[in-house]
């Protein structure tokens, strides 16, 4: 299978090489000494843990927002036709590059941005400083809002595709058996969309946890999310810090695969 060559050699091989270099082998200066120094340095550094915590917060909150809002939108739109203009509008920002979406977010949410001007016009704020700092803020709320706004339609579109496969007769049967609207949603509709929403949420989490360009353009710098910290270490002019960048990236991959694996297992247990 040629596809395995890409994922095996480039992706798997790349991760392996990253691991080898992160423990001091194949160094840039030709040195090869097995050492766990990079990991020791990172794991004892509070900045690393704050970076990781910020990434977890971003990915977790963005996933919850996108999953909740996306499912809600899908339920609101599920009786519209597959080719309705509403569904077309829903998906219109999907192809937007994140670099562009992040840039738009800056102009919308910064303290001198459009939202702040609107609250000024409405008499809610008197100056830019009255508007909450949502860009480059320590909680990365601007990043969070950008991710949630971009990924909500994604979840909604995936959920709508799952709803299209739901046999309407099931709901009719439930109704004729006396099930009210909430009961039908819980017992018929939700089981039909849950696998799709779960799968989409996993993709959203994985993406938000590793995304680089969005926090680069509108996120906090100290601490920055782990992806930004890792890349900064990797490209540090001081080559001795490169193994730190590699180790941080691998720890990010490890945490994300661990969480995803745990989530998948928990999901299987429930079914």
């Amino acid at each position: 299978m040629p596809a395995l060559a890409v994922t095996g050699l480039l992706f798997g091989g790349g991760l392996l090489l990253a691991a080898v270099q992160s423990v001091g082998l194949l160094g840039d200066d030709g040195s090869s000494r097995l050492t766990l120094a990079a990991y020791r340095t990172l794991l004892t550094d509070t900045a690393f843990w704050r970076s990781l915590g910020l990434s977890l917060w971003l990915a977790g909150a963005a996933t919850l927002l996108a999953a909740g809002l996306g499912t809600g939108l899908a339920l609101a739109l599920r009786h519209t036709a597959a080719r309705s203009p509403l569904r077309w509008l829903l998906g219109a920002t999907l192809p937007l590059p994140h670099v562009v979406a992040a840039l738009v977010t800056v102009h919308l949410l910064s303290q001198g941005g459009l939202a702040s001007r609107l609250t000024h016009a409405a008499g809610l704020t008197a100056s830019p400083a009255d508007f909450p700092a949502l860009v480059f803020d320590p909680l990365a709320l601007g990043v969070l809002l950008e991710l949630a706004a971009k990924e909500t339609p994604f979840v909604a579109v995936v959920a709508l595709a799952a709803l299209a496969r739901l046999d309407p007769r099931l709901e009719e049967a439930a109704r004729s058996l006396g099930a009210g609207r909430p009961a039908r949603l819980r017992a018929v509709v939700w089981p039909a969309v849950r696998p799709a929403v779960t799968a989409a949420s996993l993709l959203v989490f994985a993406f938000a946890f590793g995304v680089y360009e969005v926090p680069l353009l509108l996120g906090p710098t100290a601490p920055a999310p782990l992806s930004v910290t890792a890349y900064r270490l990797y490209t540090d002019p001081d080559l001795a810090r490169r193994p730190l960048g590699l180790a941080a990236s691998l720890l990010l991959a490890l945490v994300s695969s661990g969480l995803l694996f745990a989530y998948l297992r928990a999901g299987r247990g429930r079914r």
Partner: protein, 251 residues
């Protein structure tokens, strides 16, 4: 339904309208809701001879087209196999790059790229883009082949058609809608990629997202907005053209 329709319309057009306004703006002081002075300066400098737009546009186009074609072609056999055997143990390694950060792998593979002379080249960037593109293609095409009835090929074979004939006459027409959507999504995944291009291409392989981030850091808002519009136009046109089929897969 009306408030919902307004909300959907707003989120769809807001980025486009805001960037259009910004790209024609000379001065826009707080708290004005509209720019005070308009100017074509942003577009002029984007289209000036010193601009690196043609280079970035060219690179973006060929890298995205090549990774879409290559990724889709590579994914076809894997997707067919996964469609036939959904419980295949190969599913996990084939789809894992969707869930793990590709930049970690590219950080590792860079030493090999340096030795092969692939860093700072378009070919190297193309290879790096295949890491996220191929698993997308595998996932999309698996769904396509799951809906495809394999007995059609058996029938053609039993009627004496050769392998190539079966592929061109039976398989390709049957899976074409899915294949087309897959090509479009793969093109988009590569077109939107920023970090991997930067890591492998350095400053040498300039694509639109790389140019856009560099322009952002230059601080010229009108020029940045104009560059952003050029970056988002092809994806938007593709979406307008492909509509429904395109939607399900774009992340």
């Amino acid at each position: 339904m009306v408030p919902l329709a307004l909300l959907l319309a707003l989120q769809a057009v807001l980025p486009l309208v805001l960037l259009l306004v910004l790209s024609w703006t000379l001065r826009w002081y707080y708290p004005a809701l509209l720019p005070g002075e308009w100017s074509a300066r942003g577009w002029a400098s984007l289209l000036s001879p010193e601009s690196r737009l043609p280079e970035a546009l060219g690179n973006s186009l060929w890298v995205a087209a090549a990774s879409a074609a290559l990724g889709t072609a590579l994914a076809c056999p894997a997707a067919r196999a996964l469609a036939r055997r959904p419980d295949s143990p190969l599913r996990v390694p084939l789809l894992a790059p969707l869930l793990l950060p590709a930049f970690a792998a590219v950080m590792g593979v860079t030493v090999v790229f340096v030795r092969l002379g692939l860093t700072d080249t378009g070919a190297g960037v193309l290879l790096a883009h295949l890491i996220p593109v191929t698993p997308y293609a595998v996932a999309l095409l698996t769904a396509t082949f799951e809906r495809h009835d394999g007995r059609l090929e058996e029938q053609a074979r039993s009627l004496g058609a050769r392998r190539a004939q079966v592929w061109c006459r039976v398989t390709l027409p049957a899976v074409w809608p899915g294949l087309g959507a897959c090509l479009a999504v793969c093109f988009l995944v590569s077109w939107n990629e920023y970090l991997l291009t930067l890591m492998v291409g350095g400053g040498a392989v300039l694509t639109l997202p790389v140019l856009l981030v560099a322009t952002t850091q230059g601080g010229d808002t009108a020029l940045t907005a104009a560059t952003a519009l050029v970056t988002l136009l092809p994806p938007l046109l593709a979406y307008a053209a492909l509509g429904t089929r395109f939607r399900v897969a774009g992340a």
